[in-house]
Amino acid sequence: MERISYTHNTVVKELETANWLKVGNRADFPDNGGLCFKHEDLQIAVFNFTSRNEWYACQNLCPHKMQMILSRGMVGSLNGEPKVACPFHKKSFSLKTGECLNGDDCSIVTFPVKEVAGAIYVELSQRSAIAI
């Protein structure tokens, strides 16, 4: 997550210029859990990582068995690396790099997230990298 150190106005301006998409509000999220957002035909999983006071976002598709599910996954850490575990077969993915932490040859695309005044923004320029 990126720390927001600017004043509110500068940030909103930057958000408008850099393709940031507002997906929802902090209050909608469960603690240490995710929600799935629809943007055009894209499904984005966004996680409120309360225990670290951080936000993460990634593709909703688990690449292991091609299931739209990761937003319902459990967040956690492996040696300090923040991750999400898929509910189907417990494949874990780094929420920073998208790498599969079980050593499998599959990975996910992650997106930058920002929280500004209770609103959650996701930056989607990497969306074309998703393998679906």
Partner: protein
């Protein structure tokens, strides 16, 4: 086997340039494992039983000649000749010709249907013949005879054992022990006849029965003779090698015959008037000869302890040291429990200081420890009775493990391979071993009879602990506690949330291992609404439904004991039709509705709850169903109302969260149609009340439940169930079914019986109170969820749209729907 072991041992010491080795064998197969011969009937093939495959001999430069019988030895020219006329010379000759079954000179022994029990060929012939036989008799109630009887039972034949002596296994067991063994075997369907001297085998060409000296007859159409062994010394005898008056090649302490270059090992060797019919002494002889070949005169054969432990037709039997104490030099301590079929006897010296030997029937768990105490003349506890009764003080539960500590390094742990405690500990340190499999590989311990495996595992644990290595089964990287420790800590600190626990006792952010484990603990302790902490629940618990392929969920309403009214069936049918759900009867006698989307779950449940259904908890690590058969209300065989009791039990424990799922069943009579013995707890009706079975499961490794207590009334049954379930919930590791838990529980079933029935820990009342508290806190999770707007909101796929997931797709099969295959959304 002993011949093979010799090859293995000599190749460990010498390469092909130092010793050229040729092996002649009459059989067409290389050496095979006769100890486990009855496994052939349990589905192992002849190849599985080989000591080593053909390649092994090649790889180790051993010239193996099978199917060639040596017919002459010239001890002066040092030459042998085979039945094919092949001549070969030797520097040293080792006779490992073994023994053949003793076939008494009975009238009619040549008839069809009479077999020996010795070679794979014998077994193959028995197997072929057994297909058209119905009733088989084994002559000989010793070790091998009972093995043969097992083989016949496995073939589905009515099986009888006839023994000349007044009891089974007369060489190993005393009268009392043999009686218990006999009871247990008779329960397993074996008929036993003792003090019977067979006089004649009846029948024309084919056996039709046996006639005994007392005038009685026993009809049968198959006979297996296991009346002891005779050393195969005919070759030695013909060639001037000295043999004993009752057979066997006479050897000295180095296993040399009267010709110094000819040795004899195994069952053919007669050492100090003793023939050793077990593998372990044979292996020891092989070791002595290999040493002797290199000029080592220190290693000799000085007789061998004939202690043995084995499973006979599923019954543990062990005898060790001076088991029978025929000279009455000791004072025996005896424990006998006819109800459970357990007999234990230990012979203590008159001064009370040492253990000389003993007998174990029905429960031989303490065999290894007792054998070590006897062999190493170790000092005994103040009250030697504790050795077989177990300490009454639960704090001493680990006493037997501490006993391992006291063993000298020279103590033999694996007697088949002659491996000492020192060898094993050294291997663990030198090879940095952390599991038993590696110990087997490096030291060969546990590879013979396998009886020492538990001790080797304990040694590993101790050695690792002594090295300061972590052997505790901690939950994961976030909590350095076991599940049981966390259970206690949560209660002591009255912790109600995962975050609080992580903050106080853990580190990091948690993971998919500790979160559901802690969620389960919190539910088992407080039984609060699990949705309050939805993100620490596995997805099934989080959405109170079972996730299925494709991302849809299934719905399972509770149908206690499988009893359902036509109106309730109509409701399920209507709901399934309305939401286009696939329906199937489950293994637990209820109805599963598949293919619901996340947002449909509250709508479906609202209708079910309204019609009076409750959550079936199919999604939780919790009580599933209590299966029942129809019982005395309808069934002409039923002796008790099994459906009524099953419903009562299911309502009592519904919603109970445990380390793993829990299944139960109640059968209305001994026919057991509810399959209660395959459940975590099973109740079977008897004329007098109920029998309670515990710790069974199906799954990948099926295990039968074991009888905890018989003929109890309903109230006692519920009391013991309360205690049993709470004790399991408190002490099991995460995701451990009751069967695995019991397998790991020190002291096994008898300890569990002590805790649950005898209340030796004094926690019975507490366990019952804990269970009452959980039951009082029961609520239907789905009723709660559909009535709470906050919870309902969570059941949707998109946070910013009310539509369902477009990727959840179905296709049709047999008139219903099924999800599309993995990955076909691409």
């Amino acid at each position: 086997m002993v011949g093979y072991k010799f090859c293995e041992k000599i190749r460990k010491k010498y390469n092909k340039d130092q010793f050229e080795v040729s092996v002649y064998g009459e059989e067409y197969r290389p050496a095979y494992d006769r100890v486990h011969l009855s496994a052939y009937f349990a589905g192992k093939t002849a190849d599985d039983l080989l000591m080593a495959p053909m390649d092994w001999y090649q790889d180790n430069h051993i010239n193996l000649i099978t199917g060639e019988l040596v017919v002459a030895i010239d001890p002066v020219k040092k030459e042998i000749r085979t039945h094919k006329g092949t001549l070969d010379t030797y520097d040293k000759l080792i006779l490992a010709t073994g023994s053949s079954p003793f076939m008494p000179a009975l009238k009619g022994i040549e008839k069809d249907g009479v077999f020996a029990y010795r070679t794979i060929e014998d077994l193959q012939q028995m197997e072929a013949f057994g297909k058209q036989a119905h009733k088989a008799v084994v002559i000989g109630g010793g070790l091998l005879g009972l093995e043969a009887a097992k083989a016949l039972l496995d073939m589905g034949l009515e099986t009888h054992v006839v023994e000349f002596a007044d009891r089974l296994m007369p060489r190993q067991l005393d009268g009392q022990g043999a009686t218990i063994l006999r009871m247990k075997l008779e329960n397993l369907g074996l008929s036993v006849h003792t003090s019977k001297s067979t006089q004649e085998i009846l029948g024309k060409d084919r056996i039709s029965g046996l006639a005994f000296a007392d005038g009685s007859l026993l009809a049968c159409d198959m006979l297996v003779v296991s009346a002891g062994i005779r050393p195969r010394d005919e070759l030695a005898r013909q060639c001037g090698i000295e043999v004993g008056s009752r057979g066997g090649v006479v050897v000295n302490d180095y296993l040399q015959t009267n010709y110094a270059d000819i040795y004899a090992i195994g069952e053919v060797a007669l050492h100090k008037e003793m023939i050793y019919g077990l593998v372990a002494p044979g292996y020891d002889m092989a070791e002595v000869v290999v040493n002797h070949l290199s000029g080592n005169r220190e290693r000799n054969f000085s007789g061998f302890d004939m202690s043995t432990k084995l499973k006979l037709i599923g019954v543990d039997v062990a005898s060790f040291g001076d088991a029978l104490d025929v000279n009455e030099e000791c004072i025996p301590i005896v424990y006998e429990n006819k109800m459970k079929g357990i007999y234990k006897r230990i012979n203590i010296t008159r001064d009370g200081k040492y253990l000389r030997g003993g007998i174990l029937v029905g429960d031989a768990e303490s065999y290894n420890m007792l054998l070590q105490l006897a062999q190493n003349a170790m000092s005994l506890p103040d009250d030697p009775a504790e050795l077989i009764l177990g300490s009454r003080n639960p704090g001493d539960a680990h006493a037997s493990k501490q006993g391992l500590d006291a063993l000298p390094d020279s103590a033999q742990i694996c007697s088949c391979e002659g491996i000492t405690k020192g060898d094993i500990c050294k291997a663990i340190v030198d090879h940095e071993i952390t599991d038993v499999a590696k110990i087997k590989k490096v030291t060969k311990a546990c590879t013979g009879c396998g009886g020492c495996t538990p001790m080797v595992a304990d040694l590993l644990k101790q050695t690792l602990e002594a090295q300061g290595k972590q052997v505790k089964s901690v939950l994961c990287e976030h909590f350095t506690y076991t599940r049981q420790e966390l259970y206690d800590l949560i209660r002591v600190h009255r912790i109600e949330t995962y975050d609080e626990l992580l903050g106080r006792l853990g580190k990091g952010d948690g993971c998919e291992v500790c979160k559901p484990a802690v969620a389960s603990l919190l539910a088992s302790i407080w039984n609060d609404v699990i949705l309050k902490q939805s993100t620490i629940q596995d997805t099934n618990d989080r959405f109170l439904a079972n996730i299925q392929k494709g991302g849809s969920y299934s719905v399972v309403p509770r149908i206690p004991a499988g009893e359902i009214t036509p109106d309730q069936l109509l409701v399920i049918g209507k709901v399934a039709k309305k939401y286009k759900l696939y329906t199937k009867i489950t293994g637990g006698q209820r109805i599963d509705l598949f293919g619901a989307q996340l947002h449909e779950l509250p709508l479906i449940w609202e209708e079910l709850v309204h019609a009076g259904f409750e959550s079936g908890h199919a999604y939780g690590k919790s009580l599933r169903t209590i299966k029942s058969c129809v019982g005395s209300t309808w069934c002409r065989f039923g002796v008790q109302d099994s459906v009524g009791f099953a419903i009562e039990i299911e309502h009592r424990y519904k919603g109970l969260r445990a380390p793993h799922k829990l299944k139960g069943a109640v059968s209305g009579c001994i026919r057991e149609c509810a399959e209660a013995q395959s459940k975590d707890f099973g109740i079977i009706a008897t004329e007098k009340g109920w029998n309670l079975y515990v710790c069974g499961n199906g799954g990948a490794r099926p295990q039968h439940a074991q009888l905890l207590i018989a003929d109890i009334d309903k109230a006692s049954c519920i009391r013991y169930l309360d205690r049993f379930l709470m004790y399991y919930i408190k002490t099991a590791e995460p995701l451990t079914r009751t069967a695995t838990w019991l397998n790991k529980l020190e002291g096994g079933l008898s300890y569990l019986y002590d805790v649950v029935v005898n209340d030796v820990l004094g926690i019975g009342k507490q366990l019952e109170a804990d269970m009452e508290a959980l039951i009082a806190n029961y609520h239907c999770e789905w009723k709660h969820a559909v009535e709470n707007e906050d919870f309902r909101k969570r059941f949707k796929h998109f946070a910013n749209s009310d539509e369902g997931d477009p990727y959840v797709q179905f296709e049709e099969v047999r008139g219903q729907k099924k999800p599309i295959e993995w990955g076909s959304i691409l």
